[in-house]
Amino acid sequence: MPTALFWIFVIFMLFFGVMVVVNRNPVASAMSLVVCFLGLAALYISLDAFFLGVIQILVYAGAVMVLFLFIIMLLDLKAEQRRHFNLIAMFGGIVVVVLFVKVLFDVCYGFQGGNAVFPAIHNTEHGDTWQVGMALFQQYKLPLQMIGALVVVASVGAVLLSKRELK
């Protein structure tokens, strides 16, 4: 992928990520998060991870964010009322975030090994979906079964939690 396209998608993703945090209306935040995930899927595809890019769009931008929107509309949340700011918490949060960004830049510019361009990959007969599938169903078949059990437990838990009274 050309470098210009990479930076366009990064700026796109970060802009909508910031919009998630600064929007007062929860529905607008959720829609910004969908667009942010679309930019992230484009970055996955730029890293030759086509399967994960498609999964990101289907699962996150599709299923998970629809669930978020559904809950926001179910609870009928209005735009947040402007309350008095807790100044100490606000100040502390901004200081922690600024320090985190500083550490991030220090680490990224101190890591010489990461300044190399990505090595070329061969075009093979099978695409990356085939490769991930083979790893998933041969090498990682037990974790896959455990994930299946986890999803069943999570859905049972969600049904149980949304019952009106717990027995």
């Binding site: 970055l43 990101q56 990461g114 190399a116 361009v117 990505f118 998933l136 859905s155 838990g157």
Partner: protein, 105 residues
């Protein structure tokens, strides 16, 4: 060409945006969305390392399988988390975290 450091920087900045959201926002659903942002930032760096660490001319697919598992677990986590938020809203009629202080010392 974009280098690995560029991808790590993008991932770290996305994580920072999510982190700032968790620290600065007061609506519990927005905090939950910011948590999702942080999770996806970690996934981006995993995919970057997967592409960087080639093995016999192919990316390291073990990392991509890990990302696949993380996405699945995150979907399960969102289901349970939103059910908890709905239960909380039924009990307290609010999603503002300053009103949810029963466990505060």
């Amino acid at each position: 060409m974009a280098t690995l450091n560029d991808y790590l920087l993008a991932s770290g900045l996305l994580f920072t945006v999510g982190f700032a959201g968790v620290l600065l926002r007061r609506n519990i659903i927005i905090i939950f969305m910011a948590l999702e942002l942080m999770l996806n930032a970690a996934n981006l760096s995993l995919v970057g390392f997967s592409r960087f660490h080639t093995h016999a001319g192919l990316p390291d697919y073990n990392a991509q399988v890990l990302v696949f598992f993380i996405i699945t677990v995150a979907a399960a986590e969102v289901t349970v988390g939103l059910a908890v938020i709905v239960a909380l809203f039924r009990a307290k009629q609010t999603t503002h975290i300053e009103d949810l202080n029963s466990l505060k010392f």
